[in-house]
Each structure stands twice: as structure tokens, then as C-alpha cells.
Symmetry: C3
Subunit: 280 residues, 3 copies
Amino acid sequence: MHNMTWIDDTLRMVRKKRPLVHNITNFVVMNTTANALLALGASPIMSHSVEDLEDLVPVADAVVVNIGTLDEYFTYSMLKAVQLAKVYKKPVVLDPVGAGATRLRTRAALMLLNSGGISVVRGNFGEMSALVGEYGRTKGVEAAAYESVKAAGLVLEVASRYSTIAGVTGPVDYVSDGRRVFSVELKKSSQKLEQVIGRVTGLGCIVSAIIGAFLAVEEPLKACIAGIATFKAVSLYAAEESPYPGSFHVKLYDWLYKIDGESIRSVVKVSSVELSQREA
Amino acid sequence: MHNMTWIDDTLRMVRKKRPLVHNITNFVVMNTTANALLALGASPIMSHSVEDLEDLVPVADAVVVNIGTLDEYFTYSMLKAVQLAKVYKKPVVLDPVGAGATRLRTRAALMLLNSGGISVVRGNFGEMSALVGEYGRTKGVEAAAYESVKAAGLVLEVASRYSTIAGVTGPVDYVSDGRRVFSVELKKSSQKLEQVIGRVTGLGCIVSAIIGAFLAVEEPLKACIAGIATFKAVSLYAAEESPYPGSFHVKLYDWLYKIDGESIRSVVKVSSVELSQREA
Amino acid sequence: MHNMTWIDDTLRMVRKKRPLVHNITNFVVMNTTANALLALGASPIMSHSVEDLEDLVPVADAVVVNIGTLDEYFTYSMLKAVQLAKVYKKPVVLDPVGAGATRLRTRAALMLLNSGGISVVRGNFGEMSALVGEYGRTKGVEAAAYESVKAAGLVLEVASRYSTIAGVTGPVDYVSDGRRVFSVELKKSSQKLEQVIGRVTGLGCIVSAIIGAFLAVEEPLKACIAGIATFKAVSLYAAEESPYPGSFHVKLYDWLYKIDGESIRSVVKVSSVELSQREA
């Protein structure tokens, strides 16, 4: 896992297979995540229609459900999509945007998780905390103050409780399969990246969407790490070229196209985290 | 008011407080205005769900309602949000996109205004005219031919009739509290800005959204002037760097991040307008 | 038709008239196509509300219906808009996004086509195939493997069956009025364009939207050719400047603003296609 050489092949497979990734996502990032998936080399289809599900899920290579702007129709459509994905054995990634910020979103995230069809759940610290009953940490849809010391334990608890792969993103990202915890981080911090990373909407949603693309070619633990590591590298290169929100956003898509395994490995490292005790 | 030195602090306060701005807005600009608020330094949350309102309005620092793409659900959600904002004493900005172009939009804008919870209403000349019964001036959602001589009187009438702050944007912008009228304009006109300003969608919506951010830290009259002045400066700097629609749009977000009070004051001036008679 | 000198005037007329183009389109590209129309010089209005139709269709210069993200409300709104467009003699362009990929979309596209109010239908090879009963060729919303030899015959069949103008876009684009077939292609292929063209979402939707703008000033056959030729030239210039998805996307809007007839004619050619037999 740690030397990351496997990511070269994972990325190559995405570009060779061009997996069809079916997204039921929020209105704010539909364009953003479709463009991110295309730039990376996958084939997105965006559809929230319940009537489309029977035709799309069976042919999709992965499904992304993202609760960033909910109403009853979307919630129903996501639940139905996850059920169909179980029937057709399709991997699903859940982005619990705003869980903890409103009861509607927390409930929807929990319903989706409890359905048993979620392969990977990825959120920020506040959102992931809400999934284990720690409320009041989410301010809007932004990350709560990042408690890195607790994040590793949190992700272990989410993964273990819901029998899924869980990823939490922040200054250091952690991924767990319910037994082990891995950290994903930049080898060297970047002031330019820190300046701009919180200033563009939908970046977390991009991470979840590209995890969807990796799920189509890789098992969930590696897919989650690959998605997080790829985005971390891409955002670093983009910020180094242009640390202002508009230009940075544009460069992200350029780099999702340009990135390769070696460029990821040269700036991102994956490590095992030893937890002396359950800390969540 | 006129020397504008207060805007330095207003802008600094937005960046320090990072106010949570709750947006119920149209599908076309959800991404645009979320990114504009983030670039400026605020924390947007985009949610149209009625179920979310009880959880979001009480913790929001300001609410933005924008009628650019309406259906019954959105209209109901906006009305409910404005009612809750009154209860929780939260400032609200209304963007009456397309009022005057269709009866649905005119009615929705008037319902929202008549609810009594609107702190600031900002639109273009055609939209603001529709709010005082002057129809047929809106072509689509674009500004009607700007009748500058009438715009100052118009904004006074809107503000006075609905006991709110009213802002009209165009070549010269006017803001009124129902008694006084202020103009906000560039010290020097820019051909590059004039070339590109009408060629990107959602610019008016950005102005309204950032007025929302300023409402979280400033009283409504100043918040409206600050939002308009900030956007005027930002769009000038962006257009001078790149007077073509795609690149200009990208630069807008860069400049929303970079802008400070001094850069605004050096290119924008605010003046009192003496109205010899009611001209609307 | 072939020397394309007429396109100079067509483009000038769009910029002079600034036609109001009413779009009922999908959530993914609402911002994209509004910005494309503005950059070109038209006046977009985006509205899916049934209540808006009676006020918008009569004053619109053209209507664009795009089925990229459907639900019952949108389908009903599009059908009603096409009916009203017939009453008020407004030209309509249909983009059958994802026809063939799901039954819902195929049915919606056919219902709209059979209503008799469609002036131009433009899609990719898989979508257009689905309109004549050739299913299973659409992978998601992307083009099926382009069968150029069959594309010319296909477009003739669609145009003839539905008494409309049909355009199919791909490496070579074909347009037919049901009797004749024209090809629209680059005079010289571009590796940079080929690299980037499939990596941004909504490009086909942009073509359809700008055909809408041209429909407001030109008869349907020429409007379809003008829209396709303009986009082909614009995408070539943008890709030559920047062959990566994010930057290319930005440059597209810049070039939609900058493009003129001569720049189109210098890189795109239109030819008559002789079909020895029906090949679809």
C-alpha cells in the first residue's frame, strides 16, 4: 500500500476503460464534478431521474451519491440507486455533504449508509463526526476546525460501524477499512495551496466523484486512497501555478488531465497510523 | 459615507468572521455565487430545501433569496426563509431576477418584498421598475436600456415604498434608504469593462450574494454600497487584465480574493444625489 | 451554401439583434450554455417554469429544449414550450441528450420530435441513431464510436422522417434537410483539439444553444450549419491556445466573443455529400 506504485496502473486503467460513473449529485457541483471526471478520463452521466435508474445503474461502472442539495425526490432517487447498485453489484461512493449541519442531511446520510450498499463514504471532519452521533461540529458545509488527533480515530469508527471504507479529508486525510487506518498527506506543505484550498466550492465533491472513477477499476480501500491522493497532488500542482480561486479552479481540470502516477507519488505519501486506543 | 474609508474595515470583518450566508438561488448561478462568496472570504451554504430552513436560518449570518429560476417549491421555500429570518432577526437580500419579464417573477418578487423581511433589494433597471408597476422594460433577464436619469428616482421609490434599502445596478449604480440616494460609480470609465460586462451570466447575482456577506457585518445601507462598490472594483481590475468573457469570469474570482479597501477606494467613488423632484 | 460567405452576415445579425433565446435545459449546463450564448452575442433566458412559458415564448426569438437531466416537470414544460412555439411561430432546437441511453430520454426526444414543432435536432451519433430505432449505441451521454460512413445517411433519415433539419456532430459533422446532406469539417485536423474535445462537459449543448441563436436570424438549414461551423472554429482556436480541459473551456467563451465569419471560413469547410444509396 505505502509505496504507492500501484497507483500508476490504477490511473492508467481509468484512462483505458473510461468507466461510466453515474452521479446523483447536488445542483451546485453537477457541472464541476462532470468536468472533473471527464478531465481525469472517466465518463460521467448525471441523472437524478428515478425512471432513468433501471437503465443506468446496470450499465454504470460506479455510482456517486452526494446529498449537497436535497429534496424528497433526490433522496428517494439516491436510496433507489443504492438498492439497485446492490442488486447489480456496483460500487457506490457517498458524499454526506452538510451532514451535521441539518437534520435532513444527517438523516439522509445515515439512511444511505444503513442501506448497506455504500462502498466508500468520504466527508470532512464535521460531516464524518455527524455519522457517529457527534453533532454541532459542522458550520454550513465547511469543515469544522480540524482536529487531526481525532480524525484518525473517527474514520476508523465510521468504517467499522457501517462496514465500509471511510475517508476524512482535511489538512491530513485519513482512510480506514474498519481495522487499519492510513494517512494520506503531502510530503511538503504548500503555503499557496493552504491559501486557496478553502476558496473554491465543490472540491470535496470532486474527491468523492473521482473516488467513484477509481472504484470502477480497483477495490474500495485502494480506490479511496487513490482518489484522495490524486486530488491532493492535482490541487498542489494547480495551486503552485496559480494560488487564486478562479485560476486555481481552472488549473485543477488541466492537472486532472495531466496527472500521472509518478507525479502523485513524488508529492504525496501514504502511511499506516498506529492507534494506541480508540480515539473517536 | 462618501470617503469610503469605512469599507476597509467592512471587508476585513467579512474575512475575519467568515459569515455563513444561506443562499436560496437559481440553478444557473448556484456554483457562480458560491464561488464568489468563498473567494471574497465568506462561507456560503446553498440549500433550497424547506426542511433545512429551521436548521440553517437560525445559524446563518445572512440570507440571500434569488428568483432567477422559479417553481412553486422554490417560491415557498424563499417565503418561509424570509419569515424565519424575521423571527431570528437575520438580514435578507432579495435579487428579483427577471421581475417584469414574467408575471410569475414579478409576483414572487412582490410577495417577498411585501413580507417585510427584506433588508436590501438589488436589481437592474427593468427589474426595479417592475417593483413599482412599470412593466415591459425587462427583456429577458437583462437590463432594459439604462435610463440613468430615472434610475436615481426609481431606487428612492422602491426603498421608500417597501421600507428597505434598494440598489439598482447599471452603468452608474444607485442606492437609496428611502430618504437619501447615493451613486456608486467608477472614477474613470473603462472600455474593456464595457466590452465584457454584459457577456457573462450571473454578475448581478454575484453582487447580490456579496451584499449578503456584507449584511452579516454591516448595517444594510452600507452593506449594499459595499457590495456594489466591491464588485465594481473587482470587475474593473478583472476586465483590465482580460476583456474576454471566459478569462474575465475567471479573473473575477481571483480579484474577489485579492481586493482590499484601498483598491476599491482608488477606483470607485460614492456621491450623494440631489433629486430636485421625484423622478420615478 | 458552400463558400460560406453568408456566415459573415449571419453572425453580424446575431450580434446586432441580440436575440432572446429561451432555454429549457439540463442542470449540468445551464450556466455553460447561458455563458456561451452571452459570449456569442445573444441574450439567453433560462427558465423551466411552466408558468413562465406564456410570457416568455411569445417574446423569445428562439427556443432551446435539452433533455440532459429530465423529470416529469421538465418534460411537461418542454412539450408545452414546443406547442406554444408552434402557435407563435418561433423556431425550436432540440438537443436529445442521452437518447438511446435510457428509455425515458428516448421517449421524451421522440415525443418532442413528433410534436412537429422542432426546427432543428442536433445530437451525437448514438443519440441520433436512437431517434430512428437504433438503440444500444449510446454509452452514457457520450458519443458512440463514430461511424462516419453511416452518419451522413443517419442524418438524412432523421431529417426526412421528422420533417426537420438534423445535425449529427462528431469528427465530421453532417447536416440534412431531408433531401440533401452537407458535411461540415475542419480543413486541417488538429491534434490538440482531438486531445481535449471529449474532456469538457456540455460542448454538444453549447452547439445546440448557439444554433438557437442563429435560428433567430436565419432559416433552419443555414442556422444549423452556422452553429456547427462556428463551434468547430471556436473549439479549434481555443484548443490551439490551450489543449487542457480547464483552460480550453475558458478560452471557448473568449473565442465565442472574438470569432468572426472570416475566421470561421478560413478553418472550416462545408461540402455536399453524395449518397449513392440510403446508408442508415
